[in-house]
């Protein structure tokens, strides 16, 4: 039985809750002086990143190693892909070496599903195009749950009544899509704060077009990275104008309630969406997001590679 983590929608409410609960176990491991357990000895995880990434790749690699799995890193630029080998041949070649899970990031939406057609290994989507980034959503949910001490277990609780403002380029952001899905599955109220040019064409979310309209009535402020490329496409007049309407400026930071969580998936553009020093914000949980990324990715790897079917252990027991 091969299982994969491709999107929050496919994971669903039950799976999301199960992984959050499992992440508590991994967080406990990571608090120890020797944060390593033998759970996935003999398993091999291959990172296949077709887009640049620092934190996500390192986070997955660390997660795998803390579970005692072996890791392989596939650097696209140094690979036979640059000699003209097809993606399918490359994946099948790596799979033939004995890989239990592929962690893939690709600029094309849907690439992880395609990869899943070619291999029997588990596939974990580490970001595909504008589409999905499920482990980011998981670490965001885990961070909110931990920081606000909310009860969210496999059977109970949620984010009912939690008001979230997600600010920035929603349209081109896989983080926005996945994290919004996860917040909604857990019952939070989410508002997208974005220029109309950076909203997806069809959606049913609440929308604000100025951060000032919502900043006094939120529990979580989630800032997205403003990508410079969008200027060239003339979707935003200038970074300065963006900051004026959507950036977290010193004035707006002064209006933020003490308990309001400030989140960012990174990498952060200081002076644009983050026009204050985040270290001075009382609700800054950006570093916790990074730490929790390891916890939730360990949970995902253990859930995919550490479980078997109900009946494969006939006769044995506790």
């Amino acid at each position: 039985m091969t299982r994969s983590l491709l999107s929050i929608a496919e994971l669903g409410d039950v799976g999301l809750r199960r992984l959050l609960e499992l992440s508590d176990h991994m967080a406990e491991v990571n608090r120890r002086p020797n944060p390593k357990v033998p759970a996935l000895r003999g398993k091999t995880v291959c990172n296949v990143f077709f887009e640049d990434s620092t934190r996500t790749r390192l986070s997955f690699e660390t997660a795998a190693k803390r579970l005692s799995a072996d890791t392989m890193n596939f650097a696209v630029s140094q690979s036979s892909l640059s000699k003209g080998e097809s993606l399918r041949d490359t994946i099948e070649t790596i799979a033939a070496m004995g890989v239990d899970a592929f962690v893939i990031r690709h600029k094309s939406s849907g690439a992880p599903w395609q990869l899943g057609e070619w291999t029997n290994a588990s596939v974990i989507n580490a970001g595909d195009g504008w589409h999905a980034h499920p482990t980011q959503a998981l670490l965001d949910m885990y961070t909110v749950r931990t920081a606000l001490n909310r009860t969210v277990t496999s059977s109970a609780g949620g984010f009912d009544g939690l008001r979230v403002a997600m600010v920035g380029d929603i349209k081109h952001s896989r983080v926005a899509r996945s994290t919004t899905e996860a917040f909604k599955l857990l019952g939070a109220d989410i508002t997208w704060v974005s220029p109309r040019t950076l909203l997806p064409p069809e959606h049913d979310e609440h929308v604000a077009t100025n951060l000032d309209d919502v900043i006094d009535d939120i529990d979580v402020l989630y800032l997205l990275r403003m990508q410079n490329e969008r200027m060239n496409e003339a979707l935003v007049p200038s970074l300065r104008e963006y900051t004026t309407r959507f950036g977290l400026t010193p004035t707006r930071a002064g209006r933020l309630g003490q308990d309001v969580l400030v989140m960012h998936p990174g990498p952060m553009n200081r002076g644009v969406e983050m026009a204050v020093d985040p270290g001075e914000l009382s609700g800054n949980v950006i570093n916790q997001q990074v730490t929790n990324g390891i916890n939730v990715r360990m949970a995902v790897l253990f859930d995919l590679l550490g479980s078997g079917s109900e009946h494969s252990l006939a006769g044995s027991s506790e």
Binding site: H25, L40, D303, G306, S309, S316
Partner: protein, 178 residues
């Protein structure tokens, strides 16, 4: 640890609540005697079945030996150390709770039912990742036999011969086989 039988289940009760209480009292005495008190002794329950037993044993030890310092208690989840990972569904219990250092102390691992010994083996490995105890001892309310590893308990409430297809359930209200 076994699935508790539901109400109305036709399980056969083999020990009543008084029997369980007396077994815990005797085990508490044995733990104190064997370790000459409870200084430098910690009771660690294996998640999840051993947790209530640890609380019962600690309460009993406090009652018997009220001059002594309260015995340290904790719990350990062995699910990341099992030898059947990948062979059955992932179902961790609660998170490990060891707030004291285990270096140099005597850890009494506690479970409700001792069966194949595989969970105990995993729990010993888990404890080892927190430090190097002076000794590890093992306590279980019921030893139902069928060991698959060279592991034996130091403190037992009741030896209970069973067949492998039976389910043994242990609570403060008694022990049933179904």
């Amino acid at each position: 640890m076994n699935t508790p039988s539901s109400a109305g289940d036709a399980g056969k009760q083999v020990l009543g609540p008084d029997d369980v209480r007396r077994a815990i009292t005797r085990m508490a005495h044995e733990i104190i005697e064997r370790n000459r008190g409870t200084a430098g002794v910690a009771l660690v329950g294996i998640q999840t079945g051993g947790v209530w037993v640890v609380e019962a044993l600690a309460a009993e030890i406090a009652r018997i030996d009220d001059a002594a310092d309260p015995v340290q208690i904790g719990s350990v989840d062995a699910s990341l150390y099992r030898d059947d990972i990948g062979l059955r569904p992932v179902s961790p219990g609660s998170v490990s709770d060891l707030t004291f250092t285990v270096d140099g102390i005597t850890v009494v691992l506690v479970d409700d039912v001792l069966y194949t010994g595989r969970t105990v083996r995993a729990a010993i490995d888990a404890i080892g990742d927190y430090g190097r105890p002076k000794a590890v001892q093992l306590a279980a309310i019921v030893d139902r036999g069928h060991r698959e590893l060279p592991i034996r308990p130091d403190f037992v409430g009741k030896n209970l011969p069973t067949s492998a297809d039976e389910i043994v359930s242990v609570t403060a209200d008694g022990v049933t086989i179904s």
